[in-house]
């Protein structure tokens, strides 16, 4: 037993690290040493605590005080006040109105959250197996190995109603059954950690924050299905996740939790990490398996499903990181407990990566069936900077955009699918009214287009055709019938593509066509982008009433298209203007305005045009 009296849990999730939590740690170590407190206070690096917007964040136990936005400059005061004098530093605590919120439980961000997969994330040191064991880790594995048959284990997951958390939503227990029943040996378990959606970081956080949980989940899956080897397929862009999983496997091996005859039973299991090179399509299970085999990451037709013929032509179970993360807790607390959360067809909880124009961006875990409004306004704290809500994008490049009228819809697999979006892997991007939906659709389509593996024609050529049309609409060169053509192409690609990438890639376009059709029509007919996002469909103008003639804009203009004087004020020549936005940024009196619609050419312009001829 150590002499330390305080545990400082410092969030070292990727968000907080980039906000500077490692520098904070360095400074804390230095300051604690200065006050002679090194032996009494223990600094522990944890995984993501969730409220990334407040990063770097830390929790101080035993008091349970939560600090936000701690900078290295704050550290001397923090150490002096809290660790020497025992006075919590109110300045760095979360405040609601004039009230300081001391405890994590009282922070609105955490109130509606229910943590299952993220239970230990931000509470334990992910690099110490002892801490995971202390919170009940590997108990589920031990009990299952000694007291349950593989079929019992499968039934637990079947009864829990757990469905794949990677996007597909396939019942996990059923998948296990297929692999269990399949003939062939050895069987494999693959953990799909190829998280690639823009704006998604759930799997990454779980792998970084609680690697042993995912490993235990994988071993339970291995026991239930009869597999003896596991692979973690993690993209190379997640170096910390790879390091932590490797470390977890090493520690488990030292404790005899991995290897031969685990817990004195017949069960043998080993696991290793395979890094992906960052191709989005490798998140598709058959492409992922090819990639592990060392071949080109391209999907193959199903059936046969990986459950029958997967890795090295043997039965293979492919489960997502978060799915495996739920397994140990389901075994520990029981299938009924898990099934008690959520609604009819969607049980348990789901982790979402909340990003965009919302106050509390970060990692959240909520029960299935919660409404979008609760997720965005209660957990997310509402729109940032008083902006107005316009749309929410769920499911990344495979998902769709929903509008204000859908805010009271429940978040579950079926409801979202019927609305044209999807739970997907759990990326939630909240957008304010300054986002052009045509442009948003174009962004996601561009992503899928570039990530298409090129194997099948609908996806390879079709997405490119859709992108060309979207691009010309944004440039103001849209043609009659473009909208209908987009719909026709989208439906065809969905029906005829080989894998999930192509089958879902048109969703962002189709869902925006469904709910924001007027914006497409505005771009096409009025040649105007009301949010002033599409540069060809907007222009800059100087309000002569407001202009003070300071000439700052003219001096900053890279193409010298702004002319005028103090007396006459300044004007922008529309023709040569490249719409860089410099004048808009620098104007001290906000006289430069963004206006929707194409600019009308003026006499000044024609004189400029003649210069170019």
């Amino acid at each position: 037993m150590s002499i330390n009296r305080t545990d400082v849990l410092l969030c070292c999730g990727s968000g907080c690290v980039s906000a500077g939590s490692l520098k904070v740690k360095e400074k804390m170590v230095e300051q604690l040493a200065k006050h002679g407190l090194t032996d009494e206070i223990n600094i522990i690096e944890t995984g993501c605590m969730g409220p990334c917007d407040y990063g770097p964040v830390m929790m101080v136990y035993p008091e349970g005080v939560f600090y936000k936005k701690v900078t290295p400059e704050d550290v001397p005061e923090l150490v002096e006040e809290h660790f020497v004098k025992g006075r919590p530093l109110h300045r760095l605590m979360i405040q609601e109105g004039n009230k300081v919120i001391a405890n994590k439980e009282d922070i609105p961000f955490y109130k509606k959250q229910v943590k299952v997969a993220l239970e230990n994330c931000g509470y334990i040191n992910p690099e110490k197996i002892e801490e995971y064991i202390a919170v009940g880790g590997y108990e589920a594995l031990g009990v299952a190995l000694t007291e349950k048959t593989p079929q019992d284990a499968i039934d637990v997951i079947k009864n829990s109603g757990l469905r794949g958390r990677g996007g597909g939503g396939f019942p996990t227990g059923l998948k296990w059954q297929f692999v269990h029943d399949a003939e062939g040996s050895p069987k494999y378990v693959v953990c799909n950690g190829d998280e690639g959606d823009p704006g998604a970081f759930m799997d990454r956080s779980l792998l970084e924050g609680d690697p042993h949980r995912v490993l235990e989940g994988m071993m339970l899956a291995g026991y239930a299905t009869g597999a003896s080897e596991g692979f973690f397929y993690i993209r190379a862009e997640y170096p910390l996740a790879i390091r932590r999983i490797r470390n977890a496997i090493k520690q488990a091996r030292e404790y005899g939790l991995i290897g031969k005859n685990i817990m004195g039973t017949e069960f043998c299991f080993d696991a290793e990490v395979r890094t992906g090179a960052g191709a989005f399509v490798c998140g598709e299970e058959t492409a992922l398996i090819k990639s592990i085999e060392g071949r080109r990451g391209q999907p193959i037709p199903k059936p046969p499903f990986p459950a029958n013929r997967g890795l090295r032509e043997n039965p293979t179970l492919v489960n997502n990181v978060e799915t495996l993360g739920n397994i140990p807790t389901i075994f520990r607390k029981g299938a009924e407990w898990f099934a008690g959360m959520g609604i009819e067809t969607s049980r348990g909880t789901k982790v979402f990566a909340l990003t965009g124009d919302v106050k509390n961006t970060g990692l959240v875990e909520v029960p299935m069936g919660i409404t979008l409004r609760e997720l965005i306004y209660d957990v997310g704290g509402g729109m940032a900077d008083g902006k107005k809500f316009k749309a929410v994008q769920l499911g990344g490049p495979s998902g769709g955009c929903l509008t204000e009228q859908h805010l009271d819809c429940s978040i579950d697999y079926e409801t979202l699918k019927n609305l044209g979006a999807m739970v997907g892997s759990g990326g939630v991007i909240v957008m304010a009214d300054n986002n052009c939906m045509v442009n948003v659709a174009k962004f996601f389509l561009e992503f899928s287009m570039e990530e298409s593996c090129g194997k099948c024609t609908p996806c390879r050529v079709g997405l490119k055709m859709m992108h060309t049309i979207l691009d010309r609409i944004c440039q103001g060169k849209g043609q009659e019938g473009d909208v209908e053509e987009l719909e026709r192409l989208g439906e065809t690609i969905k029906q005829t593509s080989l894998c999930g990438l192509g089958q879902t890639a048109p969703n962002p376009v189709l869902s925006t066509l469904r709910y924001f059709r007027h914006e497409y029509e505005e771009h096409l007919e009025k040649k105007s982008c009301s949010t002033c996002t599409c540069l060809n469909l907007m222009h800059f103008e100087i309000d002569k009433e407001k202009c003070i003639g300071c000439s700052l804009c003219a001096r900053k203009c890279p193409v010298s298209c702004i002319t005028g004087s103090r007396e006459e004020k300044f004007t922008i020549a529309q023709d040569p203007c490249v719409k860089c936005g410099n004048c808009f940024e620098v104007c001290p009196v906000k006289a430069v305005q963004k206006l929707p619609g194409m600019a009308e050419l003026t006499a000044v312009n024609s004189s400029f045009s003649s210069l170019y001829e």
Binding site: M1, D7, P62, G64, K85, E130, E131, A134, G256, M263
Partner: protein
Amino acid sequence: MKTLEELRKIREKAQQDMKLRESNTRVKVVVGMGTSGIAMGARDVMKAILDEVSKRGLADVVVTQTGEKGLSSMEPVVDVIEEGKPVVTYGNMTPDKARRIVAEHIVNGRIVNDYVVAAQR
């Protein structure tokens, strides 16, 4: 590790090291660490308490600190808080007196009346 029992033993030991992060502790010892407390040697008192708690392996005791308590003439001041019992405040602490409190009050449950300043609900 070859059995579930072994795992559970490792867990019990590991839980000891994480007890600070749990809220279900039996006794909370709060040392007044205001300017006057520190000047009167509250840090040494605290260290003595931590040392004694650690030596005796008291897993359910949490030692923490607070700011100025307003009892400057009796610093260092230590509160012993037990669930469902009156809060006992001790004054004019020294490291040796503090060790006695750990032994008699916290371990054996006998309040050390010699040093008590106040007991309140």
